[in-house]
């Protein structure tokens, strides 16, 4: 019995390591200065899928929606052991909120067909919403198990998994197909040297077109060559995945951003307390007198 797994991954700006030059003098985020990384919990989801591959010999397909540059995370996934990689890229997808994103990704799953298990990271660090996973599950009309820490077993038509709940854990059993959202629960394997040798030349059609933009004929021949070697990262636009134009991108997004403000911590009028017995004694006295303490 072989299972088909689909892992959705995302390339995100590294918001957790914002350095000085990533902020403009006005205090806004300079997105261009942020390195793009493999969303951390998506790596956990991929690792979980690859462990299932080690255990059960499942097929692992990874897919992402994003800019042409997002082919990079697909390449990294191939170098970790994924069997197949798909990029969905289209200007029409820009401005998507979680509803439009989940619709688009559900179209990918439907196009592929015959998927037993979908895995996603719980949330992406650029939005922290954790909404896309459950919304894909709803769009595919399949059960979801969120915050999964461990797959206990994958059997014909059934998955048993342990997931985190407030103050503890639950073991849930669900029929397949199902969707899991995965939390930081494993140590993602590094890219394998052997696979890196193989996949370092893997490119998407968009990347090839960019590299040979003055020579379309060369682009075509490189594409054919990579495809023959299994090194072409499959690329799809919105039409190719069968997406309804009214439900994708900005048009397909019910939430609109009214206003964006950068966070500027206001300088308060902090009272300077000297770190001496006297200074601290006075502070304690003040806090006790105004009933903050005691």
């Amino acid at each position: 019995m072989s299972f088909n797994l689909l892992v959705f991954i995302k390339q995100v700006p590294d918001t957790q390591n914002i350095s000085g030059d990533a902020m403009t003098p006005e205090g806004t985020v300079n997105r261009a200065a942020l390195p793009a990384i493999f969303n951390p919990e998506d790596l956990n989801a991929l690792e979980m899928a690859l462990q299932l591959k080690d255990r059960y010999g499942v097929n692992v397909t990874v897919a992402t929606m994003g800019m042409p540059a997002a082919a990079e995370v697909l390449r990294q996934a191939l170098c970790r052991g994924a069997d197949r990689a798909l990029l969905v890229t289209d200007r029409a997808l820009a401005g998507a909120d979680t509803l439009a994103t989940s619709y688009t990704l559900s179209c990918v799953a439907k196009m592929l067909g015959n998927i037993d298990l979908v895995l996603c990271g719980r949330q992406a660090i650029d939005g922290d919403t954790a909404q896309v996973g459950p919304q894909i599950a709803e769009k595919l009309n399949i059960p979801q198990i969120c915050y999964v820490e461990e797959v206990i077993s994958l059997e014909k038509g059934k998955i048993t998994a342990r997931r985190s709940i407030e103050g503890g854990y639950e073991i849930l059993e669900s029929p397949l197909p199902a969707l899991l959202t995965v939390i930081d629960c494993n140590e993602p394997r590094p890219e394998s040297v052997k696979l890196m040798m193989k996949f370092k030349r893997a490119r998407s059609a968009g990347e090839i077109a960019m590299a040979y933009k003055n020579d379309p004929a060369a682009a075509e021949s490189v594409k054919a060559e990579l495809a023959a070697k299994g090194l072409l990262i499959e690329e799809f636009n919105a039409a190719a995945i069968g997406a309804d134009p009214a439900r994708i991108g900005f048009t397909g997004s019910p939430t609109k951003v009214k206003q964006v403000q950068s966070v500027v911590l206001t300088a308060g009028d902090a009272k300077e307390v000297s770190p001496t017995a006297e200074g601290i004694g006075d502070l304690m006295h003040e806090l006790i007198s105004d009933h903050t303490l005691g």
Partner: protein, 340 residues
């Protein structure tokens, strides 16, 4: 605007105990409902919940939509989504608020996806205002302004749902203030029939292990929090000592949690808990935006840091530039002396 739907709050409960965040949302929901001139309704699912009802009236619900069925315990997503979706189609609420708990964060998106409604996660403020959609040349009155941090807390975005109602959001525990209960307030219960079929109960809970939370930072009036500047797990004893001396709870920054010095349950900040105590003492915490987001509403803030330019000082009411290894023992000593 005539004939708009009511404000709803999803009331989360565990064994008949209402989640703190749900009561905080009832308090906020009351404000929104008054502003819009509509009713506030709590949506309560589970089994044997009659004990919860009065509390919901006391905090501001006009009505409680109550769905009781053994298949709604313990919580699983599919049956909850089914019952709430049916209620939404029947009653057309204008606004629906969820706690951004693990349950809320898996339930709300499932419902929003089916309803094709917008959903905004982890709002830190909610207001009613008009919205001009310049791109689509449409204007909306009395919409819910859904205010949330984004991009790792570096920006604050105001988001509006322009599609179908309800306007749905999740809010983290501790972000909205709990109002004073009015014990004389009364309301009305509407019993809701629970119609589920086999497809809604396919996910089985095989085992469930749950302990009450060890720490209650939200309820704490005094919090002593340690950061990376504490230096080691052993040295966190200083933080515990000060907390014990002045009757406070211990908290921590993400850096201290990531260093493995203290459990994640103690983490204050955007990815931890949001607190608003009477006194917050930040010891060796530099004051990242994500930490400040979780404690900036504290009534009084004392910051102790060796770096005079630490960002935490811009929030602090009392600034102590010094080594916490010396300052904290002095604080304990001074407090004990003043107490006598």
């Amino acid at each position: 605007m005539a004939n708009i739907g009511n404000v709803w709050v999803f009331i989360e409960q565990e064994q008949g105990k209402i989640a703190g965040v749900s009561l905080q949302l009832v308090s906020k929901g009351r404000e929104l409902a008054d502003r819009l001139g509509v009713k506030l309704e709590g949506v309560l699912l589970g089994d044997n919940l009659s004990g919860c009802i009065d509390t919901l009236y006391h905090y501001g619900c006009d009505r409680v939509l109550l769905a009781e069925d053994s298949r709604l315990e313990p919580f699983t997503v599919l049956p909850y989504a089914k019952v709430i979706m049916k209620l939404i189609l029947e009653h057309r609420p204008n606004i629906l608020l969820f706690g951004a708990t693990l349950k809320g964060r898996e339930l709300a998106p499932r419902i929003a996806s089916e309803k094709l409604a917008g959903l905004t996660a982890d709002c830190t403020d909610l207001q009613i205002d008009d919205f001009e959609d310049l791109k689509n040349k449409k204007s909306y009155t009395d919409k819910l302004m859904q205010i949330r941090p984004a991009f790792g807390g570096n920006i604050i975005a105001t988001i509006v749902n322009t599609w179908d109602d309800p306007q749905m959001v999740t809010v983290r525990e501790g972000v909205m203030k709990l109002g004073e209960p009015d014990l004389s307030r009364k309301g009305e219960v509407v019993k809701v029939p629970v119609e589920l079929d086999d497809a809604d109960t396919v996910v089985k809970v095989i085992e469930r292990v749950r302990a009450e939370k060890k720490v209650d930072l939200q309820g704490a009036q005094i919090i002593v929090a340690g950061g990376y500047g504490v230096g080691s797990k052993e040295n966190f004893k200083l933080i515990y000592d000060l907390a014990e001396a002045i009757g406070g709870e211990v908290g921590a920054s993400r850096a201290a949690v990531d260093a493995g010095w203290i459990d994640h349950d103690y983490q204050v900040g955007q990815t931890g808990v949001t607190v608003r105590p009477r006194l917050y003492i930040a010891c060796g915490i530099s004051g990242s935006i994500q930490h400040c987001a979780g404690m900036s509403e504290s009534k009084k803030i004392i910051a102790i840091n060796t770096d005079p330019d630490a960002p935490i000082f811009s929030l602090a009411h009392y600034k102590i530039v010094g080594n916490l290894n010396q300052v904290i023992p002095q604080m304990i000593k001074a407090f004990k002396a003043k107490q006598q």
